[in-house]
Symmetry: C2
Subunit: 135 residues, 2 copies
């Protein structure tokens, strides 16, 4: 299936598979009423995306029980060939003792120190596009 712009539309299963192939994505949220975006590493766990955050950081505060988007892509710079997947879902802190151990195991390694909080983005809607050769 192709969309109005001529891009191939990926189904949910394809999108989920692609999400597992790249460890870095971008979380999109609202910060003081302005659009905000931040690259983070992540992993896929139990129908959710897991990321790490500091307890008091701007990210942790802004995405506490918020609806956020998460974007992952792999695009060739010269040809534009590649794909992108966007998840929209509700974010929240993983703090239930019954989940924490398993989530800690599944969570990505932090790039920076002090990110000891686990954030889960429950995958609600998911959409993806693939760009082929430009005519």
């Amino acid at each position: 299936m192709f969309d109005a712009a001529g891009l191939e539309v990926l189904d949910r299963a394809e999108c989920l598979e692609l999400l597992k192939t790249v460890p870095v994505g971008r979380i999109v949220f609202t910060d003081q009423a302005l659009p905000a975006v931040l690259p983070v590493n992540y992993s896929v766990w139990d129908g959710s995306l897991l990321i790490r955050s500091g307890a008091g950081g701007k990210l942790a505060v802004a995405i506490r029980n918020a609806v956020v988007a998460f974007e992952v892509d792999e695009i060739d710079r010269d040809s534009g060939k590649g794909w992108s997947v966007v998840v929209v879902g509700r974010s929240g802190v993983v703090d239930h003792p019954a989940e924490l151990a398993a989530a800690e195991e599944a969570a990505p390694r932090s790039w920076v120190s002090g990110r000891d909080r686990l954030i889960r983005i429950v995958i609600g809607s998911i959409s993806g596009r693939r760009v082929g050769e430009v005519p």
Copy 2:
């Protein structure tokens, strides 16, 4: 200078230089009250970012005179080393005859057909971070 998370803070000049080195970024906007994000190729022109859009596309409608964010990064998947730059600014269609010719010349080549509209994002705030070796 380093931020609370230990990331090196880049100044405006560094951010602007880095924006010119990568042709693909992600535009962050609001679509029907939900966060939305889309990878696009772009170029830097006259204090603005230029992207192409279809005249009637979801993107063109959503970012008509809206405040949007634009993210560019280059991050090593394994080490997390790299940088990211985020612009926040007002977007609008470039349609003034006095600007159109020069903007067309500076604009990126479209990856898909039918993107005959030029969108300018005036660079308002710009911020950047560099991630070094994770300790």
